[in-house]
Symmetry: D2
Subunit: 362 residues, 4 copies
């Protein structure tokens, strides 16, 4: 829609505008920027692992976590979002630090969350009572409205990436939250969780008699709650073998339906071999990327961002994105793509970007 | 999540906070209000027809609409939304005024829109070239990315309600917009549009040979683009007859699928007979109500709003809502309910409200 | 698979064959015709209205229908099917005759049925107690496992076409049948049935509050149980108007989902204007056609069948089919197409047929 | 429907019947047995491995398989089916024998097939060119209309169970068949097939960029073409561990959708531990069971069938079925259940059977 006023203002018009404002109305014709030719409300942004890790550790030293408290979480706060603790308009990204012997107590909420482990191991995340062991590269889900808590029975701290759809669910005004009770949840540490016992055979599902075993609380989210890094690594290697490509990607899916891990979140790992540069693509919807392994650079709408292990960056909606790896790289991607698809708003197109752009200072 | 700081701040902690801010990070434990027990980010609000109509007419007198310009639209701007021209976090509501002889030129955009006619008749809305006649009570759709324009060949002005998913699509950063060309679209006024020729028989669809007739641009939105008030009125009357209820409602649906008019918007008409009060219900998701006929009052979370023909009001997410009619009333409702359903976030429950609450002054 | 034996039989081989037979085994290599290049197990066949009507009337005169008895039904028995009372391998077609004052008592069965009225009016078909009035051209559904009975309170007989999926359901060994009780069902004749009150507005569905109104027994079959001829006639006329074609067709669908009337049956009406000949098409799946109005001829795999009002004919799977009308014609089609689609076996292609073939003597 | 004639035949009635027969019509009221209270068109039946294996070997000795010939297949021919080479009305079951150095050449057909390996290993089944290695307990799919051929480059014969939906597809008159060309297909033996490279990570799917990799010919059938016995064995063991049950079952599913291996066929393995007897269940639809391991007995509608490794038996629609194992047993089940579900005809109920029934002599 047009963004310019096309007439001289007169006293009558000024009076009209004043009366409109008093009546909680706004004239569309003086609203520039409501309808843009293409999406583009956000710039790309990068956070460095060195900083994230350092600040997470300092928080661990200085800020306690106890029953009256909460998660020790540092959220990626995109500078374009006016102080909101959100990575994009729809996605929450954060690092969570849980020290040895610490416990993040149970609660549940309608925003869905995932944990992608960056450092350390040995924490047990209980999802509706099912204990999930956590080790580097593992993806652990805490779907919408499932009870979840984190126990670190060891002595070493752990750091993981937290991804949520909280900004989206908040903009839909659909947030419900419930804290757990005072008693500690007891659990039996088991190297393989209940959900993995049931759903970790590819194409092999518990038959109808076992239908009741499925946890109804998991609703339309994945029935498999933990995806182990060695499986992901193997799947990526097989893809490279069979396709002969130098860049491949794997989508985490509900083994029982093939749908995304939650109705709101897509998770993928993209592997780019050293020396390869991917084709540039524009996609509607935003993403948060976490470098799990390797180093390289991503060009986003003509700006170059160099990255190495642990760095996190945001790709905005409809930005042209390509990656180039210096060393074999695995990039974890969290995106809101299922939302765009469900609402009929998904678009994507291949595009081109300059091959030589100077790196951002960030 | 907890909303209180649970330790004394020390110089170290202050330093940490400063460094976090400098690094575009935020500590979750000092973010009150991110996770609320229940939704509740918006208050109810009402706009009066007398005001809306008066200001629409004054705009018609004072502000031209021509090829360089735009729609003459007054948007409901909820006072809780900090100056944004939006009715709720997800919904746009507005009155549009098109004078005799005026033309709102062609454009298209990814936000989907509907028009519910309040006053006047004779305008032709062209949707991808299909001319749709408009008369009071008619619902006319301009689905996502369809070309549309409004022609008023008569001498009398028309006023209609505009409903869009623009706030939602904007928060998803998925807005695309394209203005039409310079030439005027010619059209053959036909009392029945192409889409109605194809899809206005209940349960009677063009068979496979006619599949190609379907406009691909309409995508997953309704293939029927105009719903006539006499049909809606008759359907409501039949429902009252057969159910014996004193409050019934009809949902506008795609005749070819039964799904909502667009993936993002639900439209309904609720008929409440004089003297009847409906049961109170809470629903996740927000709504904009337009009183098409009758008078009465709606209690929203314990606050009473009296209304009469043409008034428009907002019901926030999870607010308890019931209606009582003084005179037989028809309430048009626009809501974001399909979004909540698609994303697994829909909840509803019956509740109670006080029978006697004083009316708001508004 | 090959259909010829490719070696000389020896005593050893003969012994093998004998032992196989004794063990309820069969050697595939001596089974000609199991796998055919294309479908083609059935020839086309036609039944004449003059004969059907005459024999239905004589049955009405000679064979009583009372509580101990059953429907007075003459089933189309395809001569290729070895004496089975079936029109094709999947479809049942028949004429049913109900005299003035007669009653076909209640029962229910898993095979789904439809009634397409050919002559007379005034019968009430009760479906789970909902009384549906019947007049020429009306389509009335009695979906799987719904109680149904037919009352003729008038003095004149009625004749209608019965279509069922009985041969299919029988070949799946999924037939359940239950006779009704001894008492007569009382009903309130109402010109509009409950299902039509709820579902006869195109694109207008009872909103969520009315969900409970839907009869759960109707399962995945259409919620609308009666489709009136004037609506079908109007829909066909609109299609001809808007497309400019001289042959159009309408599919009967569930207004709440757009799906076929039952998971097993598709019903359509094809209108061919006088002088027009349709393009020849091959389709996997069989059909029973009932000429509701007009006269003309159909070429089926090169054989010409002339028809006039009331005639019924079968088109086999993958046969090339085209129609030519002498006088404006409406052809009702019952097919098993939804089954083929659900099972991934649907194919169709346009083809050619000779323009001049001599008519069959039938 | 009633099965008795309820009136005396008169000369007029006799004449009517004669005229009906001449007109290819049948009076419903003299058709006993069309509508049965419950399904029950088939009896249970068992085939012994000792016999199957012996006859397969003798066939291998006596009957060649060469380019002009065909598969060396012995089909289970249920004695109730009047000489048709079918195990049930919808299912084909057979043993296939492929000697060392033999080749079953390429063809394709719309009936879908699966191979469950019983004895031997080393055969390569090529499905649209993708070579699938075969070993005992493996399930290999050749979905509808995929090219497939079997190569035995070793010196030892192999025997596997063939399951097809041929009887169903034939009763739908939807069989298409195409023989392959004369040239031999060359292939690169690879221990892991292309489909397994792409789809053998549970919940890990090739992301969108790899969508084109999916073979379009596989249509709505499983994208994974081989399910290895060790994976199935492990999944069953995990199920027993986590549920504590003594009888569990696993369903083979498309990893990309969770749907059955084909739209027409369900495959499962049921594990029953020694000494356990399952609860009796009735299900609409028929099944062919293959004992992969162990021994025990199955009671089918009150008749007891003892079985041991390699035996195959049929459970008819709606028969009460329970299993009891003497030694830990794994039973492979092929059923038509997806068809019944897709067509709205699926029913199941728990029931009781006598605990002591004498074994059948078979």
């Amino acid at each position: 829609m047009a963004t310019t006023r096309f007439h001289d203002d007169t006293p009558d018009v000024d009076g009209l505008y004043a009366d409109l404002a008093a009546a909680d109305l706004q004239p569309l014709w003086v609203q520039p920027g409501l309808m843009t030719r293409t999406p583009g409300r956000l710039t790309p942004h990068i956070w460095r692992w060195k900083t994230l890790r350092d600040l997470a550790e300092r928080s661990g030293d200085l800020v306690g976590i106890d029953r009256g408290g909460d998660r020790r979480v540092l959220s990626l706060s995109h500078p374009d979002l006016g102080g909101l603790p959100f990575a994009t308009h729809t996605l929450w990204g954060a690092v969570q630090f849980l020290g040895g012997g610490e416990l993040a107590p149970a609660h549940r909420h309608t925003p869905a969350a995932l944990r992608f482990v960056l450092e350390g191991s040995g924490v047990w995340t209980l999802v509706n009572g099912d204990p999930l062991h956590m080790a580097p590269g593992d993806l652990v889900l805490t779907p919408s409205w499932t009870w979840h808590e984190h126990h670190n029975p060891g002595t070493e701290p752990m750091i993981w990436f937290d991804g949520l759809d909280l900004p989206l669910v908040r903009s839909l005004d659909a947030v419900f939250f419930e804290p757990g009770g005072e008693e500690l949840t007891s659990y039996e540490p088991a190297q393989v969780s209940r959900s993995e016992h049931l759903y970790s055979g590819a194409g092999l599902l518990p038959a109808e008699e076992q239908a009741a075993v499925q946890d109804p609380a998991s609703g339309r989210s994945s029935r498999l709650l933990a995806y182990r890094w060695p499986s992901v690594d193997a799947a990526l290697s097989r893809l490279i073998d069979i396709t002969g490509r130098r860049a491949v990607s794997v989508r985490y899916a509900d083994p029982a339906t093939g749908r995304d891990i939650t109705p709101t979140l897509r998770a993928e790992v993209h592997r780019v071999l050293a020396g390869h540069r991917t084709r540039a693509v524009r996609t509607v919807g935003s993403g948060v990327w976490v470098v799990y392994r390797g180093s390289g650079a991503t060009v986003i709408d003509g700006r170059l961002f160099r990255w190495t292990t642990g760095d996190m960056f945001v790709t905005p909606s409809w930005a042209a994105v390509d990656h180039e790896a210096d060393a074999d790289a695995d990039l974890f991607l969290l995106s809101d793509r299922p939302v765009l698809e469900a609402l009929g708003l998904a678009r994507a197109e291949q595009t081109r970007q300059p091959r030589d752009v100077p790196a951002e200072e960030a």
